[in-house]
Every structure is written in structure tokens, then in C-alpha cells.
Assembly symmetry: C2
């Protein structure tokens, strides 16, 4: 069986107020073309399909069209789950009709225990859930209150969930899991990781690779770079589009999808890159350089988007200048504008990002970075996400 | 062909903050039972399926389950359109998959021109739209700008739309139209109407029955009482649940669905009543009567919901009393509480309805009533709705 693995589409996302929808649609067409060229038996979308619980109507229309093109126009099966950014209840709408054309979608924990069966493979679709979802589920299953209370971390919950899945394992088949969590490598293993995941293990909100050892292959969503994959057969595909400056800075960290071929005793994985139509270019230069035609005419002006940090910037010398307007005149779209002062005053270092456009998680992350100068570690990031998920629960 | 005609489900609606979802689900079960007992060939839902453009997740789940029960569990075709309360873009999601099981849903004007064809009948599904939608549509069709500009009222637009539908009429079949508008009788006809529709004709936002004369039968949504139907074969089914005090006051105006049998040269219509599980009881009595066990013990206390107006009420005599709490103790759920003062002071007449729970349209209507003592006429109501629809357009 040959599957295309993608995740974290975040349809409807904006970057400092600039809609990424056009870029997402362009990138989708590349994904579809790869699926057709490779003649895959299915497209896996491992959660965070939308960017938010209540996506705007343009995002709803765009996603509908994409799913339609894969599943109805090209007759390619879809295996999808909801992520922490999706509303399980909203995304669930219509799934029973979609089953008729082999579009399989799970958004609730209780839907996850019975796999989709092919001749050789059992495909388990486990959507994002949190410990409270697990407590509710196991209480309904008649688990004693005493035992239910002990489900406090996602690791506790996952142990029970996987044990229950294993009851449905068919030993003559391979087992594939599709899920959406932060999974770190085992404690005793050394794997090259991006800065996002260098922190080791544990915490309340992360899982380790060894929990998934009974599956032949795990396709993950949640972390946006494929280099965060915790194991050879436990993989993040990464998101197809660059969503922030940090991702744009990691120039060698290409975006793409995995083509995974699962055969008894043989698993192969081939990375297929996706090329941005509108790239996000990070510039960190002096004001004089930025305004110099010799410099900026070499840039992909009026085509790509720019995130610009002006170095050694003394504001008092430019009080009459509309900095953003001057830069947009030369570069086109400037989605982020920062100042790096040589005076080291806090005020001039304040990020000009429009806070109201950031997600709550990103706001915390940015605040943490501003104060400590460090990124949130993977467990810290997961903890923040867990907290906001619990807050969001009411709204969903 | 035998069809069940219903409309205006408004799933997710609240009554002064009290959720109607349980009542809507109970009533749905009656509708489903009627459809099964009558062995209908389809269920028609003529718009305003949800109560708002962004229904809450419980409403989404509830509707999904209802549609699933009709279409997937009982294999009954569905013919549905969006109304002015629905978001055309959001409700459109998934419709292409639903087609596979004969769940036909149109939410955009451009989807309306090609009917669903049965052996004997052409079923045109025309969702709610406004003149601006029509201008955009006809511009795309290559209509000269001069002519497009002249589409200013819904009557202008409907004339063009129906003319285009007629190009697809098959004279060997009957034509059924399912749509969602305010339609009044022809000028020269006298039909008994409720207060909501006594105003005659016209205005910017209403249609008259004669515009639909080329259809054999028209199933309408929009107005919540079937007694507003403008013609013998141009019918409102009414909403299945009472949504406000005014509807509760009209005790003889029963809620229900129509079973319509369409055969060449023979159209029959049978009304099937729906019984409220939790009724809405309107009481207008003196405080002493309301507190008298001889009176209140005869009421359906702790079962139905109450809308209570206290007559001849002098507040100064009850400064220490929590009126609402005292009434709830005796009656159960009091969804609306009004005072009718014998002092005629404005303050004590102010409705205690929670304004924040009202739709914008209802807020205008209530304000109009408070100031003028009269209901909005049908054209006035349509005009208000048109204005809010145009405002909502941006959000949808």
C-alpha cells in the first residue's frame, strides 16, 4: 500500500493579518499532482486541517474544494483526523456521507478503536484528544471512578488507548497509526532535532516514541517540521506551507510530503518537496542597505513576502519617515517588520507584529522569547497548548 | 411522488437564552416518524436549517445526526436549500458527497437552474439569495452592465431567475419549486392571513404569488406559520417548533408538516400536526392569581415553559421580592417575564427579555413594537432582513 502523508494544513491561517489561503491552494495543487503521479492508494491528513475551531467561510469553501478534488474528482481515498486546532464537532459534520467514497475521517476518540481494514494493513485513525476526553470516554466504558481519576497525563491516556487498539490487532496484517501529538524520541536515543524539540522527554503533555512500538508505522501531525520526527518509522510530514518567520529562517528545512510504501517486511519512505509559490524571505540589514537599489533589486521584490529586521536602527533619525511604507514601496509585501536598536532600549525592540492576529499559543511563545531570549521547549510548548485546549473546550 | 414539506428548523435557536435544541430534537423524531409512516419519496427542508451563519457545535452535531437518520439510516432522499439565516458557504460543505445518497442541497444561486429530475417531476432547489447575489451571478453570465444595474429588488431578480429556469422546463413533467422568501398573495386576492402578513404586497423585499404561476407547486420556507401561505399551491409549511411568545399566543395555529402528493393532473396536500414536548404557555394574570395554588396547580408546571405577564403590577409593593425566583419556584422554567403596570410608567413596561440573546432582526422588531405599539408589516420585516443580510454578507 502506497500512501501520501501530509499534515497541519491549517487552512485559513493568516501571517500577521496576511491571508495564506492563496499559497495554501497553490501548494495543495502540488500535493494533488504528487498523489496522482505516484498513483497512491490514499492521502493521509494527520490533523490541524483547519487553523481554528471556527474557520472563516472562505477557508471552509477552500477545504471543501481540495477534499473534493482528491476524493471525488480523482477517486483517491482520504484518511484524516482532527488536530488540536480543529473543532472535533464541527469537522465531524458530513463524515458519514464521506465514508461512501472512502474518505475516512475520525474526530472523536471513540471512533478510533476500529481500524480501516485493507487486505494487508489495519489503519488506525486516532484524532487529537486530551486527558479529559479520555476520562469521559473510559467512564462511559464503565471503568471504575478510582481508575478514571488516575488518567492525568496524555501518556496515561495513550497507554490505555493503545492497549485497547491492540485488542483489535490482526497479526496477519501490518498496523499503521495516524495521530496528532507531540512525540519525542526515547530517553536513551540521540536523534538530530530542530530547536523546537531539543528538550528531552516527559512533562505533562508529551509522548515518547516507545509508546508506539507496537505499530509498524506512525504518521504524525502537530509539529510543523519533518526533522522533529522521533524515530525512523514514527514520522512528522511537517506542514506544507511556512507559517512564520522562524520557519522561514530555517532555509534548509524544506517543506514536503512523504510517500510511504508499506509492504510486509518492507517499509520505504520517499520525501517529495513542495515549492512555495510566494516564499517568505527574511532580511536582517541596516536601513541604508535595505534602501540601496543595488541590494533590493537582487531580492525577489513584488513576488515573495518579506520579513525585515532593520539592524542598528536609530529611530530618532527617522522620525519623519513611514518606515513600513518606504519598505513596501521597494519590496512589495512586508508581512513583518522588526527593529534591532543599537541603543538597546526595550521600547525599540518591541516586535511590531500585530498581537491581535496571533494565536494565544503564539502570544505566550513570543512573550516568553521577548523576556527570556529563548524559545519554548517542546514540553513547555505542549503544556501551553494543553492549557489553551482546555480553555477552548468550552467554546467548541 | 409523495414529499414531506418542512422548513425553518432554525437548529441552535434559543428563546431568551434557553436552548430549544432538546425540543427541536424531539420534534424532529415526530417528523421522521411521519416520513416513515407515510413512506414518502423525499423530505423537503425549505431553508433556515440553522438559526445562524455560525451555529454552535452542539447545533452542528444535532443537525448532522438528524440528516443522517433521514438519509443514511432510513434511505429517504432529502431536498434542501439554505435560507437567509444559514451561511451559504458553510452549509455547502460536504454537499457533493451527500449527492451520492440522494441528499440534494443547494446553497448558491448558480446551483439552482438545473432541476433534480424524477420520472414525472422536475424539482428546482432555489436557495435564499438577494439582489446583489443576482447581480454578481448575471454579470458572470455576461449580462451587459447596463442591464445588471437594473436588478435592484428581489422581484427583479426573481423574474430573471424564473425565466432562466423555464428554459430547462420539460413539458412532459410537472415542475416543483422549493425556495425561501417572503411571498404575498396577488393584489386582487383575499386570503385570511396572520398579523405577520396582513400588509398588502410589494415593497422592495417581497414577491407576489403570480411570479410563481408557471410552477405546479411551490414549497416555501421563511415565514413560520403555514397560514401565511399565499396560494393553494404556493405553501409555507411553517416551522416545527414555537420560537417566540407571539407564536405561543396564537393557540389555534398548529405546528406541523405537509404531505404533498404530486401526480399529473392531481395534487393533494395533507397536514400532519406536530405536538410540542415542552410547550410554551403564555399567562397574563395578577400577581395574587399567579401565586395562588388553586391557579398554578392547574398549569403544566415543571413540564412546559412559561411566558408570564403580571397584570396590574405595582412594583413598590414588592421591592423585597425576587419576582422571577418566586415564579420559577411555582412554575418551573419561566422563559419570559413581563410586567403590565397600572401606573402606565414606561420603566415598568420595559420588557425583561435579554436583548443580547435576540437576533438583530428581532431587536429592531421589538423596538418598533415598543415605540409604535404595532408589529412590523411583512414588507417592513423583509426590508429589515434584507438590510441585515447585506451587513452579514461581509461576515459570511
Amino acid at each position: 500500500m502506497k500512501l501520501l502523508h501530509t499534515a497541519d494544513w491549517h487552512i485559513g491561517r493568516t501571517l500577521n493579518g496576511y491571508s495564506l489561503l492563496n499559497e495554501q491552494e497553490q501548494t495543495f495543487q502540488q500535493i494533488l499532482q504528487i498523489a496522482k503521479d505516484e498513483q497512491v492508494d490514499g492521502v493521509v491528513i494527520a490533523g490541524d486541517i483547519y487553523d481554528r475551531a471556527v474557520p472563516n467561510p472562505e477557508a471552509v469553501s477552500a477545504l471543501n474544494k481540495m477534499l473534493r478534488e482528491i476524493n471525488l474528482e480523482n477517486n483517491i481515498p482520504i484518511y484524516a483526523i482532527s488536530g488540536n486546532h480543529d473543532s472535533a464537532k464541527r469537522l465531524n459534520y458530513g463524515r458519514d456521507w464521506m465514508e461512501y467514497t472512502n474518505f475516512h475521517l475520525n474526530t472523536f476518540l471513540e471512533e478510533a478503536f476500529h481500524p480501516i481494514e485493507t487486505d494487508d494493513i489495519q489503519i488506525f485513525l486516532l484524532p487529537f484528544f486530551d486527558p479529559l476526553d479520555a476520562r469521559v470516554y473510559y467512564q462511559k466504558q464503565g471503568m471504575p471512578a478510582e481508575k478514571v481519576k488516575k488518567i492525568t497525563t496524555i501518556a496515561d491516556a495513550m497507554k490505555l488507548v493503545i492497549a485497547d487498539m491492540k485488542k483489535n490487532f490482526n497479526n496477519n496484517k501490518m498496523q499503521l497509526l495516524i495521530t496528532h501529538f507531540s512525540v519525542t524520541p526515547n530517553k536513551d536515543e540521540e536523534i538530530e532535532l530542530t530547536s523546537e524539540t531539543t528538550s528531552k522527554v516527559g512533562g505533562l503533555a508529551t509522548l515518547t516514541a516507545d509508546q508506539f512500538k507496537d505499530f509498524d508505522y506512525v504518521m504524525l501531525g502537530h509539529i510543523h517540521t519533518r526533522f522533529a520526527s522521533p524515530d525512523e518509522n514514527i514520522r512528522y510530514s511537517g506542514s506544507p506551507v511556512k507559517f512564520n518567520i522562524k520557519e522561514a529562517r530555517l532555509k534548509n528545512k524544506g517543506k514536503g510530503v512523504d510517500i510511504v510504501t508499506l509492504e510486509k517486511d518492507s517499509i520505504s519512505r520517499v520525501f517529495k518537496p513542495l515549492l512555495p509559490t510566494t516564499d517568505l524571505v527574511v532580511l536582517e540589514e541596516n536601513w541604508e542597505t535595505l534602501c540601496d537599489p543595488k541590494f533590493y533589486k537582487k531580492q525577489p521584490i513584488n513576488k515573495d513576502w518579506f520579513a525585515i529586521t532593520i539592524k542598528n536602527f536609530d529611530r530618532s533619525e527617522h522620525l519623519q519617515t513611514n518606515i513600513r511604507a518606504e519598505l513596501q514601496k521597494r519590496y512589495g509585501t512586508v508581512v513583518e517588520l522588526d527593529y534591532e536598536s543599537n541603543q538597546n532600549d526595550f521600547d525599540s525592540q518591541v516586535n511590531t507584529t500585530n498581537i491581535s492576529e496571533l494565536s494565544p499559543e503564539d502570544t505566550v511563545e513570543q512573550f516568553f522569547e521577548t523576556i527570556t531570549g529563548k524559545d519554548l521547549s517542546a514540553p513547555q510548548k505542549s503544556l501551553v497548548e494543553t492549557i489553551f485546549n482546555e480553555i477552548e473546550r468550552e467554546k467548541k
